[in-house]
Symmetry: C2
Subunit: 424 residues, 2 copies
């Protein structure tokens, strides 16, 4: 069981203080926690695209999509503080904030997606999506991509092959390769295999940017026939928007919109509260009928007044600061810069990107080179530029900065990358 | 599928504005959400033990255990605000706050329970407990009480019979009656039944105050032989402390301590962040070894710096305001007041309580009377006193106020209850 870009205890170039902290972590948090990088980063402050360590050194954050509108954005933290001091309670009392937010959020979706339910994490949102899909379809079969990640609950970890072979896939899970020109054929084959085993298909669920599979955004529309195939088999199409959602892909607010289709269920998470734990599930009203007729749903903190006010402030910032347009224009600038460098650097293989989500393959002799990608990730970390790597072979640089990233930030990244590539 | 004390749409005495809000909820949130009371409460502000509606009316909160140190406690909201503005990131970078909190939290436990992992909700904590118990024991069999509630994920809802018959129990779940003098016998019978079906027992999991079963705290120690029985069968004993934890039972900080035993896993939730979404799982180090050797755990928001700082502030307040002692003394005062009233009021049947968690049975001719309990709950709501009811027959008044509850608050409650009982 490995994790790309994980710190190996006993390795790295740690200060005495940080070494002590690593040991304290092991003692307190146990063996299932991981740190990033050969030498972990010890952080104390964040602002915009910058993170600061204990010595005051600034790191350019090209990785964290949770702090999507920038670390510690004052408009968002003010909303959290204001609502925390006023009223923080749950959805079993009438309260306007959760409804005001629901309305504003749903306005970013096609009209057919008209209900939203609130959870605290993307894992809970995907887990709830399964419960709803099972109730609606009467099926239990699920199709995911070969290196998918959909969560850490019992049910969602069982459909997250990227967690490694130590985490069993559920018996009703089928995996398909990362998107290629035969994507729909693979989906159809998985449907046939489920049916051959007497398992009724419940859903095809995909991260619409396929982050853990290595970032697959193109060609736009490739998901549409796959969604049609699962629906023809009686299953639902679930779009996991935890990674691409909230304007990251630039051309659209949601990743599925790139494919010009309307999912049955859409799960939301990470950037929704810019760090405040809030997530949700948006749906066509007909798919929740079966679940709603026999079960209730209450998530103690889900949709609480502070979560709603905070998430509302995130939508404010995306709109007022034009972050979708920035994701598009800065993303294009970023992509062009990588393509230009690739012309003179054969280590840089295929680039796949949409807006400010970029997957840059690292290759040697045209072949995937995961170890080299990890060296680049750590080389950049040495230059105080934070990214990571992804994909089944770990050879894809995962570049996914806060949406307030500027062209000057791109230039800084490219300068750093150029330096690292020269030294490798 | 029913829920105790749920609002029935179209009923009640709602203002035009509230009626519009109810309809907006249905349109936006769909059919799985529920409100409390025959006439829902529309709240906008909270402070201490008081909640305020749109007209500025004050409601005495005798129900909400999330805002455990009082609604919108300034020390807690200040900690949230301060850390939100400074740094909010996750556990894959080194950061002191999560470790400082882990240390402080673990100091409230017996020394054998020396690891803690962080989630966002009690559901996620119990769900993780299952994954760990399955990995450690190699079993999948689970024993819960007949009206247990342990969460809303796929796996935890399948072991939460209190969600109603519309939510299927998992095939490897066995239920046992609420605690009586034969509790251990029931546990042993469930173990035997699991084994008879070829299912290896993984865990007995109980809410150590049995809130949804009707509140069972006495006699202290009754859980000890039950825990021994599941361990003898190779399973773990999991204490769900989401309800009783964080000093509520008065005599102890944790509910299991009342029984003088040490669980293998302990799940925490609701009051941990006084409303901020934070939860966790505390454990003996040996039980996480199998899980940790083959799986990693990362919860994006779990243990983030703001969650940790907020939860730390909650521990501060419990200590500095002496809330455990208050739970004990005010709880005793509360219990005595109910017992005194019961002498002249035959509707008040058995009372079960520990600290500020009280379960008062409502009976007619000595028999459980759920409908009358609901009338009392709604009668109190009419007097702006908030409680609910619990238990498989819904005849137990669930009284579970914030821990800052005072004797004057008890007097106010008793005056209200007396009035309601006279009018019934």
């Amino acid at each position: 069981m490995t994790m790309i870009n994980a710190y190996t205890p006993g390795q790295g170039n740690l200060s005495q203080d940080d070494e002590a902290l690593v040991q304290r972590r092991a003692k307190l948090l146990g063996p299932a926690y991981r740190l990033f990088y050969e030498t972990p980063v010890h952080l104390v402050r964040g602002a915009g695209v910058w993170l600061y360590d204990t010595a005051g050194n600034a790191y350019l954050d090209c990785y964290n999509n949770v702090a999507s509108v920038g670390h510690c954005h004052p408009h968002v933290t003010a909303a959290t503080a204001r609502q925390s001091m006023l009223f923080a309670s749950h959805t079993r009392y009438l309260h306007d904030t959760v409804l005001d937010y629901a309305e504003r959020l749903l306005a970013t979706f096609p009209a057919d997606l008209s209900h939203v339910m609130f959870t605290c994490t993307g894992s809970e949102a995907n887990d709830l999506a399964l419960r709803i899909a099972f109730a609606h379809t009467g099926g239990t079969g699920l199709i995911v991509t070969e290196n998918a990640y959909h969560g850490v609950t019992f049910a969602t970890s069982a459909m997250s092959p990227s967690l490694g072979s130590g985490v069993n896939l559920g018996p009703h899970i089928r995996t398909i390769p990362a998107p290629d020109s035969h994507f729909t054929t693979h989906v159809q084959a998985a449907i046939t295999d489920l049916q051959r085993h007497g398992i009724r298909p419940a859903a095809l669920i995909v991260d619409t940017i396929f982050s853990s599979d290595g970032v697959y955004a193109d060609p736009p529309g490739f998901l549409t026939p796959a969604a049609a195939a699962i629906r023809a088999a009686g299953g639902l199409f679930i779009a996991d928007e935890v990674q691409p959602g909230f304007a990251r892909t630039g051309s659209h607010f949601w990743g599925f919109q790139r494919h010009d289709l309307i999912p049955d269920l859409v799960s939301l998470g990470k950037p929704m509260g810019n760090g405040y734990p809030v997530a949700g599930l948006v749906m066509r009203p007909e798919v929740i009928e079966a679940f709603g007729s026999k079960a209730r749903y209450f998530n103690t903190f889900g949709g609480n007044a502070v979560a709603s006010a905070t998430a509302m402030a995130v939508l404010d910032v995306i709109a007022t600061e034009g972050l979708q347009a920035n994701a598009q224009s800065t993303g294009t600038y970023f992509r062009d810069a990588l393509l230009a460098l690739a012309k003179t650097c054969e280590i840089l293989g295929p680039l796949r990107a949409a807006g400010l989500f970029l997957g840059q393959d690292i290759v040697t002799g045209g072949q995937p080179d995961g170890p080299k990608a990890v060296r680049i990730v750590n080389g950049l970390r040495g230059k105080r530029i934070l990214i990571s790597a992804t994909g089944p072979q770990g050879h894809t640089l995962k570049i996914r900065p806060p949406l307030v990233f500027s062209r000057a930030n791109v230039d800084r990244f490219m300068e750093g990358l150029d330096g690292v590539l020269q030294s490798i």
